[in-house]
């Protein structure tokens, strides 16, 4: 395998067009274990971290731009990003240990296309968009449309994600991400649940809910969202969220969890995530996290 390190998007797209059997990577935290486990070796490994745009993190009045290869530790260290998207930052912070956080990226976590990727439900509820580059320029795609199944994406040969766009949230908006793992750290989600709510005087005006690890891809839960909009976040609404989330699951039995367990816990976590998001939207949330990462 050749190691290639382009310094511009154009150079990378050229390399990829010249080497069809190339694999792009950012942190390599998935690529190396996969190669070690016997996945076929590509002809070349293309390191995207040398491209400035993929390593940039910036905010403007209206939105954030997050380079696809930015190591997630830079996101969890950003007090501004955490203040606006605590749930997104929580999700990102759960992708592996501190050692992994130094290397892993949103682009990698998305394009590895694991159904259990922690950041993906959180990106989806926040309406994030991926800017995708190829030899013919760039296109902008909702994150929700990138992953098509376990290990597969809608990206064409030679395409890669350059950066993500994230609109700054309206007032009285909060998000949250919860996952179930047998261990507190170093684990893969059996269920992940993300919610984002906007409240107006206690009444929900907008809601997005997404689940991870319970279907071939992360899934939105429109029925749960519909059960919230136009209502206060009370026990009845939360029960409806839980029921809809369990219903939205299309899980498998595997070494990490059973179908029944995933269904049941998806409802629990969706309900809890909505409750936390609602607290944050109403400004009642304490901001404490168990890993003490929110300095």
């Amino acid at each position: 395998m050749d190691y290639l390190s382009p310094v511009s998007v154009e150079e990378a797209t050229t390399m990829l067009s010249q080497t069809p059997d190339a694999r792009v990577f950012a942190g390599a935290t998935d690529v190396i274990p996969q190669l070690r486990a016997g996945r076929p070796e590509p002809q070349a490994l293309v390191d995207l971290k040398g491209i400035e745009r993929l390593m940039a993190l910036s905010q403007s009045d209206g939105s954030w731009t997050i380079g696809a290869a930015v190591p997630t530790v830079r996101l969890t260290e950003s007090a501004e990003l955490r203040a606006e998207f605590p749930g997104l930052v929580e999700a990102v912070g759960l992708i592996g240990s501190d050692q992994i956080q130094s290397r892993c990226s949103l682009g990698g976590n998305l394009c590895n296309a694991s159904p259990a990727a922690d950041s993906v439900p959180a990106m989806i509820v926040n309406g994030m968009r991926a800017v995708v580059a190829s030899g013919s320029g760039t296109r902008t795609v909702p994150v929700a449309d990138i992953v098509t199944g376990p290990g597969s994406t809608s990206l064409a040969q030679g395409e890669f994600v350059v950066e993500f766009e994230l609109d700054r949230p309206p007032a009285n908006t909060g998000d949250a991400y919860l996952r179930m793992t047998p261990r507190t750290e170093m684990d893969i989600a059996i269920v992940g649940a993300s919610a984002r709510l906007t409240l107006d005087d206690g009444v929900c005006t907008a809601a997005t809910i997404a689940l991870g690890a319970v279907a071939p891809t992360a899934v939105r839960v429109p029925d749960a969202e519909a059960a919230l909009v136009g209502r206060p976040i009370d026990d009845e609404a939360l029960a409806a969220v839980a029921a809809a989330a369990s219903e939205a699951c299309n899980p498998i039995d595997d070494k990490r969890g059973t179908i029944a367990y995933r269904r049941q816990v998806a409802g629990v976590l969706a309900r809890r995530a909505v409750a936390t998001a609602a607290e944050r939207a109403s400004g009642r949330e304490t901001g404490e996290h168990r890993d003490g990462a929110s300095q």
Binding site: R36, P182, A260
Partner: protein, 755 residues
């Protein structure tokens, strides 16, 4: 959070025993200098790779190495045909099994069974060549559990295997290698006397020792029919013996040099790579290094048995245990040798029960051959018994520690496995927990507290040690038992105490098979006891020698010379005392170098007991179990270096917590392991745990010069049941299948709500 650490004051006026000096090997280990198994590189060294079976059970039809051998850089390939036929080794059946486990010949018996090994100029090339070896397999039906293996129509792993320990002996072969049994009293009468009888069936999955350092070996075979092996193991003499057996060599042709060992827990008392490395080195004429990947460690080394255990116990309303019956089946892996014997001997050992029957079976299945794991066989047995005791205590409305106290074995009790106990400290561990703050601390909603106890024999076996007095008055203690948890520090402390000199003046080292006398493995919690006794004995010889030299110097009778505070003193006080340093300096004029060796078969092993209390919180909606607080009380006899005693206690507890909650081998239907890595084989991480509070109980072992019992193993015996009992207290659900992972716990809670 409470972070108490309690240590009862050590021994009768010891100066060094019971103190906490920095361990002699510590500096090298915090600076990265310590050399572990994979850290050695020799000039001209080749790297090896191993080809392993992808099948759980298959006949090897053919092996074609020609394409692999023709690849650039490939220097040697070995297959089963390069080793003596195990059946013709002329050894004992268990030696044949060791040999067959090292490399398959006609059949592979588990996924990961070695088929061939390659040495090449780089590891990557060796791996490529291994992959290029063409093996034709004829897959056979396999069995993965004791239920499958014991079924009447089960496919057989070994066509000639007939159950030992049956009367009459069976005529037909089966997958049951042996049966063990213990009985006493009248079982029917005992159960008739009981007011409450509880019977339950428990299962546990195979779990791995999980040492962080994968197995590694470097071998350099010379032209003279000899070879040197560097490897990390729990016993380089045992590595030498076993490797020689598999190779068909005389043991003395092999020299084994111990590397630092990165954890063993029993799993490094056996060989895997050593004979392959020697054979590849002999064939290529160059040194060869073999290192396992983590997935090879999981698929082909360790683990300990999965088990199925049925226990029935009766108790009177005033808390007297009247009868106990246990049926135990342990997976051996592909070759006989599960620790069911120890399981059967330990299951009832802590208690004085008048009527009992224990029956156990050693069952072969198509999984890796099990290896020892910390108190082998005992934790699963204690999980079953201590869970039932918890239920009995609740059933008669008695405090669970009180129930245990009323039935605890004491000095003079005839142990369930035969002998009468000498002085033991079980009651003291129960009292330590009963009287601990933890036992009375309030609990919140969804929280529960569980207690459990455990027993382990400890071992003695053979040790040799040599002690030298250096010319500057310092001492070198040379032992042959690898140090896996600070034993060099303990040896230094006992030598310092014996000699009356500062522990800083003693250097303890672990020497190779040609530098020190024979030693059995570091296992059975025996090193501080047995090697320690050898060190003490050698020191006493040195003291006698030093007194004789002082007597010579002073021209007096040796009886007039005493050894006090590190120096020879004349009883009459008429001479200026001679320090060790002074005597060392003039040793050339008083009889030559000062050195002594002691070799012994350690007697007077002191049994170990532990009692533990655990608080958990269970999330009733997800089944997630959080360990809130854990306290362990263990009888150490005497804590030579209390920090490392506590460390053994804490490490054992946490391995037990992992076993209880999340660790398990998961196999697919084809018998392939699905979780051969630390991501999905979930050993506890730091954020899963609280501090592990320790109470070091010291009831000295009267048979050891410093009262040592051995502390390495018993700590892992109680946690499985302690956690299960705590979960039962928190949820009202009795979990009988390990691991108690969130899906299992939630299913139990949901089932209870539905039922």
């Amino acid at each position: 959070m409470t972070v108490t650490e309690e240590t009862t004051t050590s021994g009768p006026g010891y100066k060094w025993v019971g103190t906490r000096p920095i361990r002699p090997d510590g500096l090298d280990k915090v600076t990265g200098k310590a050399r572990f198994g994979a850290d050695l590189a020799l000039p001209g060294m080749l790297e090896g790779a191993v080809l392993r079976s992808p099948h759980a059970h298959a006949r090897i039809v053919s092996i074609d190495t020609r394409a692999a051998a023709a690849m650039p850089g490939v220097k040697a390939i070995v297959t089963g045909a390069d080793f003596p036929d195990p059946a013709e080794l002329g050894g004992r059946p268990d030696e044949e099994m060791v040999a067959a486990n090292i490399i398959a010949r006609d059949k592979v018996l588990y996924e990961g069974h070695v088929v061939a090994a390659v040495a090449a100029t780089s590891r990557k090339q060796a791996q490529r060549a291994a992959a290029a070896i063409e093996v034709e397999y004829q897959p056979l039906e396999h069995v993965l559990t004791v239920d499958e293996a014991m079924a009447d129509d089960a496919p057989l792993l070994h066509p000639d295997l007939k159950t030992r320990g049956m009367d009459p002996a069976p005529e037909e072969p089966s997958n049951i290698a042996s049966r063990i049994s213990h009985e006493r009293g009248d079982l029917d009468k005992g159960f008739a006397e009981a007011d409450l009888v509880v019977e339950r069936t428990f299962t546990t999955k195979p779990v791995h020792q999980g040492y962080i350092e994968p197995h590694a070996a470097v071998a350099d075979a010379g032209e003279n029919g000899r070879a040197t092996i560097w490897c990390s193991s729990q016993g380089h003499f045992a590595m030498r013996t076993m490797t020689a057996t598999v190779l068909g060599w005389e043991p003395s042709k092999l020299k084994v040099i111990p590397a630092e060992i990165g954890g063993g827990f029993g799993g490094k008392t056996v060989i895997y790579l050593e004979p392959l490395a020697v054979a590849l080195s002999a064939k290529s004429g160059r040194p060869v290094r073999l290192v396992m990947d983590r997935d090879e460690v999981f698929r082909a080394s360790g683990p300990t048995s999965g088990t199925k255990i049925r226990v029935k116990v009766g108790v009177t309303n005033d808390g007297q245990l009247t009868a106990a019956e246990a049926w135990m089946a342990y997976e051996a892996g592909a070759y006989p040798g599960s620790p069911v014997g120890a399981g059967g001997m330990t299951i009832l050992a802590p208690y004085d029960i008048p009527n009992f029957s224990v029956e156990g079976f050693d069952v072969v299945v198509n999984k890796p051959k099990v290896a020892a794991y910390r108190a082998p066989g005992a934790p699963m047995a204690a999980f079953a018994l201590e869970s039932v005791l918890d239920e009995l205590a609740a059933g008669i409305g008695m405090d669970p520690v009180e129930l245990r106290l009323r039935n605890a074995a004491v000095e003079g009790t005839q142990a369930s496995y035969g002998p009468k106990f000498p002085r033991i400290g079980f009651v003291e561990t129960l009292e330590a927990i009963r009287d601990h703050d933890h036992y009375r601390a309030p609990l919140g909603p969804n929280q529960g507290r569980g207690v459990a106890s455990g027993f382990w024999f400890n071992a003695g076996m053979n040790s040799s040690a040599t002690v030298h007095v250096n010319e500057d008055g310092t001492m070198t203690v040379v032992v042959g038992t690898p140090d896996i948890g600070g034993s060099r520090a303990s040896m230094g402390l006992m030598a310092a105490e014996e000699m009356g000199i500062d522990v800083a003046k003693i250097q303890s080292i672990v020497a190779d098979t040609e530098t020190v006398g024979f030693n059995d493995v570091t296992g059975g919690s025996r090193v501080t006891l047995a090697t320690g006794a050898a060190v003490v004995e050698a020191c006493r010889s040195i003291k006698a020698d030093l007194r004789a030299r002082a007597a010579k110097t002073w021209d007096c009778d040796i009886e007039e010379v005493e050894w006090v505070d590190g120096q020879a003193q004349h009883a009459g006080g008429g001479e200026t005392p001679l320090s060790l340093q002074a005597l060392a300096r003039k040793s050339g004029r008083t009889g030559g170098p000062i050195s002594a060796t002691a070799s012994l078969n350690a007697r007077g092993v002191g049994a170990a007991f532990s009692t533990q209390v655990c608080d958990v919180e269970v999330d009733p909606e997800t089944g997630e179990v959080t360990i809130l607080r854990f306290t362990t009380a263990q009888d150490a006899g005497t804590a030579i270096h209390p920090s490392y005693v506590e460390g053994q206690m804490q490490g054992g507890v946490v391995q037990g917590i992992g076993w209880a909650l999340n660790e398990e081998y998961i196999h697919d239907r084809d018998g392939r392991m699905e979780n051969p890595g630390f991501l999905d084989y979930r050993i506890p991480v730091a954020s899963d745990l609280p501090m592990i509070d320790t109470v070091v109980v010291e009831v000295p072992n009267p048979a050891h010069p410093y009262g040592v019992r051995g502390v390495g193993e018993v700590g892992i015996v109680p946690p499985l049941a302690a956690v299960a009992n705590a979960i039962a207290a928190a949820t009202g659900c009795r979990l009988v299948d390990l691991p108690m992972s969130p899906p299992r716990v939630l299913a139990a809670i949901t089932g209870k709500a539905d039922g």
